[in-house]
Symmetry: C2
Subunit: 188 residues, 2 copies
């Protein structure tokens, strides 16, 4: 530990989350966010933090719902665009030719082409500073059969999620299997 980098939020890996919402008029919107993660097992909850200036911030407060789609590597261009453009003036679905699907469980849309989505009901809004943290209870997770492995669980090698690297601001892919959890450390 020889170098002090200052107060920086350097957590590796950070996820690449596509947050789906409806605006007041019912227009579906998506934005990409990396400040977030799993935050509770029971009730099952995930968190995503957004700046107040984002269009999605207002949409979540208005509709009290959002979806989180996990985009695969091959859609990196669209995903990056979702983080660059604003839904205030642009229809991001039209611009990328991706398809909004209305969730039947929560008041929010998701991206049909992305193989994993969490449908979330807003349960907590926590003001942290520049970012507001939205905690959503997962009402259902839906997956395309193409990413389900032989054992019935999601196979990350089929999902091919993106990784965000905070300091260099790059997208990376997922690498090789390293070990089983609660197994590798048993012989210490």
């Amino acid at each position: 530990m020889t170098k002090s980098l200052g107060p920086k939020t350097l957590i590796y890996p950070a996820p690449v989350l596509v947050v789906g919402t409806y605006d007041k008029a019912g227009k579906p919107n998506v934005m990409t966010a990396s400040w977030g993660g799993i935050c509770c097992s029971q009730p099952p909850c995930v968190a995503v933090s957004l700046r107040k200036v984002t269009y999605t911030h207002g949409n979540i407060l208005e509709r009290e719902a959002f979806t989180i789609s996990i985009p695969p590597e091959k859609y990196v261009k669209e995903v990056d665009y979702f983080g660059l453009a604003t839904g205030r003036s642009i229809d991001k679905f039209a611009a990328t030719k991706l398809t909004p699907v209305k969730s039947t469980l929560v008041d929010a849309p998701y991206v049909k082409e992305f193989p994993l989505v969490l449908e979330c009901k807003l349960v907590h809004v926590i003001e942290l500073g520049l970012h507001t943290q939205f905690v959503g209870e997962v009402i259902d997770a839906k997956a395309d059969e193409s990413i389900i492995g032989d054992g019935g669980a999601i196979d990350v090698r089929k999902l091919k999620p993106l990784v965000f690297t905070p300091d260099t601001q790059d997208y990376y892919g997922i690498g090789k299997f390293v070990a089983k959890v609660f197994s590798a450390g048993k012989d210490i």
Copy 2:
């Protein structure tokens, strides 16, 4: 989206975080957690969620501080052990022969052998259910020079962080560079 998986917290990738704390008696402890991530840029904050039964949960409330070390792939065995054993009855540093270092900025230790650490002051405690979310303000990030790239930023290929896959409960590594953020989507 053909298969409903039920209310599961399936965010990919999830990080592998080693949380360092002191107990009442001053014994350094570490535990591994994957429910967490970055949650605010200003002030710079990270979140980690822990069950109330963990030893670390009480330590954070007592000391109002914790560290988050990002362990590299080669320490997967020790990292997994940190998630299996409890600091209530075991000295995990002694068991793994890893070295606790006292932070000079916050009242918590970190793991000398891990090349990246965030020193955090507790700023929010949010009860979510089974898990309590601890939000820490990052007072400093420290990195070993071995993980700093040519441009002065952390090179994820040198850091080699672990990835946790929620559904199968495996550790994976980081894969290949895919694209630059705020660049790949510019031509849409």
